[in-house]
């Protein structure tokens, strides 16, 4: 191949990448720069040095947001992996319905997270909701999923688990199916299903898939916004004010751009750490390596 042609055809990358660069890298750099300024919607912009970060460290609301976000990310991801594994494993016993079941599982995934939040807002509604009625007729005690701090956090986790367990389940299930087929081809041993096959598949096949799926879910949970905004709007109090909601509020309601930027830098750093660590750990060499 002539190198000249190769170089020329690289030009096809330029428009897309230039635009993407403008829309992602420049804003990311902009956030970092803005975090060093005292910049309010009504006032002038003055240099603030590290003051915004000092405020961040001192701010109990920010600490709360970080805590809540991590809590949601860890619990949701953990539940999703365990449930997803159970569902994918169960599916191995029912090869005939495998594909139609996967189709049903995709339903939550194609729903807008905003709408998912709203559906659950209705299901959990303390007066008219489906679950509150069910609870009232079956179980004793009070049911306040949206009006108590722990209830609201649980509700957010619940919605995320509802929407994204299928994602993990299907990823695992597809990998599992392929691996079993290969295994059978190679060994041609009958009855090597269930736990026996699981031992062969677990390490080399399922662990990497789970790793990747966890990485996706962890980072998506760290930036969770839609569901929270619709389900609880960060409340009650600040029980579910995740980092994204925290930042959103400071931009839109308070017009405190510099401070919001410093919080965004913190979120960016957090997501990057998870991304870099995850990428290394699961040697996530994306397709086309």
């Amino acid at each position: 191949m002539v190198t000249g042609i190769r170089r020329k055809s690289l030009w096809a990358l330029v428009p897309a990448c230039a635009l993407l660069f403008m829309l992602t890298v420049i804003p990311a750099v902009g956030v970092v720069v803005a975090s060093f300024f005292n910049w309010r919607i009504t006032g002038d912009i003055t240099s603030a040095g590290l003051y915004n970060f000092y405020r961040l460290v001192q701010d109990p609301y920010f600490a709360n947001s970080a805590r809540v976000t991590l809590k949601i990310a860890l619990f949701a991801t953990a539940f999703e992996v365990v449930l997803g594994l159970a569902v994918a494993g169960s599916l191995e016993y029912w090869p005939k319905v495998r594909n139609s079941f996967r189709l049903i599982l995709m339903l939550p995934m194609v729903i807008s997270p905003m709408l998912a939040g709203l559906i659950w807002r209705l299901a959990l509604d303390e007066q008219v909701g489906m679950l509150s009625r069910l609870w009232g007729s079956l179980l004793p005690g009070e049911f306040y999923p949206l009006s108590s701090a722990n209830g609201a956090v649980t509700a957010v986790i619940l919605v995320d688990v509802w929407q994204w367990t299928p994602f993990i389940a299907i990823l695992i299930s597809v990998a599992w199916e392929q691996a079993s087929v290969r295994l059978l081809d190679q060994v041609e041993v009958d009855g090597l299903s269930g736990l026996a096959a699981f031992r062969f598949i677990w390490g080399p096949v399922l662990l990497p898939v789970i790793g990747v799926a966890m990485l996706f879910r962890l980072i998506d949970c760290l930036r969770i916004f839609d569901v929270v905004q619709v389900l609880t709007a960060g409340g009650p109090g600040n029980a579910t004010e995740t980092l994204s909601v925290f930042i959103y509020k400071r931009v839109i309601k308070f017009g405190d751009f510099g401070y919001a930027a410093s919080a965004a830098v913190a979120l960016l750093v957090l997501a990057s750490i998870v991304w870099v660590v995850g990428e290394r750990m699961f040697s996530l060499n994306y397709r086309g390596r």
Partner: protein
């Protein structure tokens, strides 16, 4: 892998795409270096010297005003463009234009809690000299007819001592109760009827006791309980707006302006936190922590809750509409409970129409503001769904026949309290809401909450 055959294809696509990109960049570039004060956006320049542009948000009062605007245009020859935006966007659009010092809007409609921010940043045009000019303010405008507290809260910014506009829509609290339930349960226990004068109105203690009486099992309602009181305790503006009535009712205070110190930790303020929070779970369902305007109205209208000490007057129409509210005919209104001062202390809300500092024809804009709020015109807006703010409107037989609640609304407005009039209000509101909610959940105590509010709000206040 090779790819040379597609070079030409890539090139063709690239050309198209590059053109698009260059166009996009050019658009951004053109506006990039725009100086603040440099005249604003091209499209925002008024078309002729006699066209006024007004930013408003969609609401019954605005709908009513829109119908009357052609009369103003015919009388004066001034053209009027109304930009009617959804409420959620109004602040941002207006703020954006102000930031660019753009003359796009001559008049803006603003929520009471934005006025300090706008005034402090120098976005609003002063109208005091126009008010004194008989050519611009006709005698029959009768500024004294405006309820002074409303004219002050929705048109002025005390820290600057200036007037920027007039009230346009008002809101405050009255006590809503059900006549049928009063006769059946409260009268036999010796409760007097919630009064319509400060002398006969209930006290907060009476309200709390009555709410306890009215909290009772009712299998027909979802959850199986009829609750004594409706609330709007959702985090944010809802909770804070409602709680302010209690804060002042129990003799508390938000800020001591003479020393610029928050007073949320005073014993009276702490008592207000305690009493307000005591309702949750006792006379109101715990769910109120996720209730805003809508749920509060729904609970009252459906019979789930029996009373509301802080009923939003602007929503009365919905409560009294028999097509949506099964108890419409039973609702009665009294003054919201009187506080330690012997007067009711309902918190005031509402919207003013304010002159933009950057208006290119402030006198014409002022004429429109005066016209819209004049006794003759505003009366018609009220009859068509607006809310009143003139003494004459509170006594107008035609208005009272249609909206009986306005007979006590004047007293409510006159005695209303304000939320802190400082530019940092959004942050203050957020802090109050965040510290108050845990008390209602039982995770914190009133004293601690008051202390935390004070501690966190103090650094935000401007130093005198």
């Amino acid at each position: 892998m090779n790819s040379s055959p597609n070079t030409q294809k890539s090139r063709a696509l690239t050309v198209v795409v590059l053109i698009l990109l260059v166009a996009a960049v050019a658009v951004v570039w053109l506006y990039w270096g725009r100086e603040p004060g440099g005249g604003g956006v091209a499209s925002s320049t008024p078309k002729s010297s006699t066209t006024l542009r007004v930013a408003l948000f969609k609401s019954p009062a605005v709908d009513a005003a829109q119908k009357l605007i052609p009369e103003f245009e015919a009388q004066t020859g001034i053209r009027v463009d109304l930009d009617i935006l959804p409420y959620a966007e109004l602040q941002d659009v207006v703020q954006t234009e102000f930031l660019a010092r753009s003359p796009r809007f001559d008049i803006v409609m603003a929520d009471c809690i934005w006025i300090p921010k706008f005034a402090d940043a120098g976005y609003l045009g002063e109208i005091d000299r126009y008010l004194r000019d008989p050519a611009l303010t006709p005698k029959d405008y009768n500024y004294e007819d405006l309820i002074p507290s409303v004219a002050d809260y929705l048109g002025k910014y005390p820290a600057r001592g200036k007037t920027y506009g007039f009230p346009f829509m008002t809101n405050s609290h009255v006590l809503a109760y059900r006549e049928d339930l009063y006769v059946k349960y409260l009268q036999p226990k010796g409760f007097r009827r919630p009064g319509t004068t400060p002398e006969t109105a209930w006290t907060w203690d009476e309200y709390l006791r009555a709410a306890e009486v009215l909290t009772m099992p009712n299998a027909k309602l979802p959850g199986g309980t009829q609750w004594g009181s409706s609330m709007q305790a959702k985090a944010g503006a809802w909770l804070v707006y409602e709680w302010y009535s209690w804060l002042y009712g129990f003799g508390g205070k938000d800020i001591d302006y003479s020393i610029m110190r928050p007073m949320f930790d005073s014993p009276a303020s702490v008592d207000a936190i305690r009493q307000y929070a005591s309702m949750v779970g006792k006379v109101a369902p715990r769910s109120v922590l996720s209730w805003g305007h809508e749920e509060e109205t729904q609970a009252l209208g459906s019979g789930l809750a029996a009373m509301d000490a802080t009923w939003n007057v602007e929503l009365t129409g919905y409560l009294l509409d028999p097509s949506t509210s099964p108890h419409a005919k039973d609702f009665k209104f009294g003054l919201s409970p009187v506080g330690r001062s012997g007067k009711p202390t309902p918190d005031m809300g509402g919207y003013g129409i304010l002159l933009s500092k950057f208006s290119t024809h402030p006198q014409d804009a002022y004429r429109l503001m005066v016209w819209l709020t004049s006794p003759a015109v505003h009366r018609r807006i009220v009859l068509d769904g607006g809310t009143p703010f003139r003494y004459s409107e509170m006594k107008d037989p035609e208005i009272l026949k249609k909206y009986q609640v306005y007979s006590i609304y004047g007293i409510a407005l006159e005695n209303s309290v304000y939320r802190a009039r400082v530019p940092q209000w959004p942050e203050i509101e957020d802090i109050i809401s965040k510290e108050l909610t845990p008390v209602m959940e039982g995770r914190s105590n009133p004293k601690e909450a008051g202390a935390l509010m004070t501690k966190k709000i103090e650094p935000l206040l401007p130093k005198r």
